[in-house]
């Protein structure tokens, strides 16, 4: 695979804080790369440096082997889909999409045919003469993407473009964006604070926190093997615990819950357990399985995401447990004491 984008030791210092600490990574050609992080983690600054709106304090950005140092935004082979889309309200759909092409030295016929082709690709045939203010949220989204893609950029940068849409449409656009990316093969770099967007669409996800990358991995690995406590807590749902002591393979939480975890070569300070890692009514003689009694506080019904809030009898720790919506657990109710098993491999421990 070709490296289409290489970031080398990139940093951005503002007068009173550091937005991006020395970051190194690369993006493969044709990939869907996401940068996931809470607001204020520096992801937008990073994106603005790649697009050229923000000058780097240190390091280099290399696109297709060429350094982007000193190259203004209008000359970079990247295009950006803005958070608020930034469609030009004074122009219709067709003129919006043709805006970038008009800046190049191409004939009007070619501009027309490229605009037509692009609009067809995003499913907006027949909308050429509509005002952008007359379109629905999803259609505006597609105009913004078409406006950038029609220029055939090396990389398309997307800055939380789904943020303003309602939930249903966002779910739909996630799938549409991923399919579009697969179809046209342009490299996408997608910025978001929504982990579900990042996990669903991406080939690779970089988790960013306080100006640094915590982990760059496939969505599956990120979820299964988070490398740092931040990733474990940020990506997916987790039950967090503080560990106060670790002795002979036994960890003790702040409230005194004892768990076995063999073979750690460090003293764990933090522990994360996914809701689905808890096994209700386990077969007790499985190897490496801790079994505890829990009392059901309440059942939080949410369709396929239904969870139980339960209290560990021995320590009073409260945890969330996934409750599969099948006949086996139908008659569980508040106040019941259930046996819950946790496999040692599902205990994610961290030094800090």
């Amino acid at each position: 695979m070709n490296k289409i984008l290489e970031i080398k030791d990139l940093a951005k210092y503002f007068s009173d804080f550091t937005a991006v600490h020395s970051i190194d990574f690369f993006v493969e050609e044709g990939g869907f790369f996401s940068i996931l992080g809470p607001s204020g983690c520096g992801k937008t600054t990073l994106l603005r440096m790649i697009s050229g709106f923000e000058e780097e304090s240190k390091g280099d950005i290399i696109i297709r082997g060429e350094s982007m140092k000193g190259i203004p935004p209008e000359k970079r082979p990247v295009n950006i889909v803005f958070q608020n889309l930034a469609l030009f309200p004074m122009m219709n759909v067709e003129k919006n999409v043709a805006f970038g092409l008009k800046r190049l030295k191409i004939s009007n016929d070619e501009i027309d045919s490229r605009v037509k082709e692009m609009l067809a690709r995003v499913g907006l045939e027949g909308y050429e003469k509509k005002k952008v203010t007359e379109l629905s949220g999803g259609q505006r989204q597609r105009v913004a993407i078409a406006r950038s893609l029609v220029l055939k950029p090396s990389i398309l940068l997307l800055d939380e473009p789904l943020g303003a849409l309602d939930r249903k449409l966002r779910e739909h656009m996630k799938i549409e964006l991923k399919l579009l990316q697969k179809e046209i093969g342009t490299t996408f770099i997608y910025i978001t604070h929504d982990q579900s967007e990042a996990l669903v669409m991406s080939d690779k996800v970089a988790v960013m926190n306080k100006g640094r990358f915590e982990q760059i991995d496939t969505p599956q690995n990120l979820y299964k093997n988070p490398k740092t406590s931040f990733v474990a807590g940020f990506v997916g749902e987790s039950n967090p615990f503080e560990i106060v002591s670790y002795d002979n393979g036994v960890m003790v939480t702040t409230n005194g819950w004892k768990l076995e975890k063999q073979g750690l070569d460090y003293t764990p300070k933090k522990l994360f357990i996914r809701p689905e890692a808890f096994i209700l009514n386990p077969i007790v003689d499985l190897e490496n399985l801790d079994v505890v009694d829990m009392k059901i506080n309440t059942i939080l019904f949410d369709g396929a995401n239904t969870k139980i809030s339960a209290k560990i009898v021995e320590s009073n720790d409260v945890v969330l447990i996934s409750l599969p919506q099948n006949a086996q657990f139908e008659d569980l109710k508040e106040g019941d004491i259930v046996k819950v098993g946790i496999h040692q491999d599902d205990l994610k421990c961290y030094k800090e």
Binding site: K75, G100, L104
Partner: protein, 285 residues
């Protein structure tokens, strides 16, 4: 749906209506009627279009109007060209903290009043004024240039008093322009010039149009600056109206010219709005 109005409604509406009727509507009706009054050869006052016709029959009148209209349009355009960069700078370049302070500085000349600023310009522009003395002191020339009592000084005075009425609506129009539109255009490969002409000016057009109307109306109807700063040859249409009312005491003729000024300047604005594709409703908002 009719609702019973309460007492506060009338308390507010009555002064407004009285103001409109007694101070605006009635005087205009009276002037309008008197503009048709004409003394015929027998000395009787009759209804006639003679007052209006004389505008077209005597070339000095309509030539003065043409001159006034031409200068007013030119000064309006000049006001836009001069203030647009300032408005852009204050709304998009300077940080919010300084821009409100700088806007305040801009507004200060308005507080002083037109007459005082005009005397200020007289001090600057006269033959032995600040500018001429300074240029002679620098050795750039030996004799003063005549600037005061010319078309030049008149244009300066009109421009100075009207520029702010352009900058304020343009600034408020630019303020509502989302910065990301500028960035998006630049990202799509647009040069600075393209961004200004294709994105910024189209967006600010309603503000520019309302500023333009205000400036144009102010200038074409101004009397003080052309009268004081302009020379003998700098005829302004309002000066002719003034002369009818106060020199030749021909109120009917003066009233007719007043209405012609209103009519013709409104027509010019209507034509310009038509040409630029602007709608009056949008300009007002």
């Amino acid at each position: 749906m009719m609702k019973k109005r309460n007492i506060t409604f009338y308390l507010f509406i009555i002064p407004v209506l009285m103001w409109l009727i007694f101070l605006i509507v009635l005087p205009h009706i009276d002037l309008f009627l008197s503009s048709f009054r004409f003394e015929n050869d027998d000395g009787n006052t009759v209804f006639s279009f003679e007052n209006y016709l004389s505008f077209f029959q005597d070339s000095i009148y309509w030539l003065t109007f043409l001159r006034t209209a031409f200068y007013s349009i030119a000064i309006t355009v000049l006001a836009f060209v001069l203030t647009f960069p300032i408005a852009f700078f204050l709304t998009k370049v300077v940080s919010k903290k300084y821009s409100s302070f700088m806007t305040l500085l801009l507004l200060i000349p308005i507080w002083v009043g037109e007459l005082v600023t005009i005397y200020g310009w007289m001090i600057l522009l006269s033959d032995h004024g600040v500018i001429n003395n300074f240029l002679i002191y620098l050795g750039l020339m030996d004799t003063p240039i005549k600037m005061l009592y010319t078309d030049f000084s008149m244009i300066i005075g009109l421009l100075y008093m009207s520029m702010l009425f352009m900058i304020v609506p343009v600034m408020s129009a630019l303020d509502s322009l989302d910065d990301s539109l500028i960035e998006a255009a630049s990202d799509l490969g647009a040069s600075k010039w393209t961004i200004v002409t294709k994105i910024v000016i189209p967006h600010a057009m309603p503000g520019i149009a309302s500023g333009g109307i205000m400036v144009f109306m102010l200038i074409i109807g101004d009397y003080v600056a052309p009268n004081i700063l302009g020379g003998k040859s700098s005829l302004w249409f309002t000066e002719q109206i003034y002369n009818f009312f106060l020199t030749t005491i021909d109120w009917s003729q003066g009233a007719a010219f007043g209405f012609l000024l209103l009519l013709l300047s409104s027509a010019i604005i209507w034509i310009v709005l038509k040409i630029t594709g602007q709608k009056l409703e949008r300009v007002g908002s």
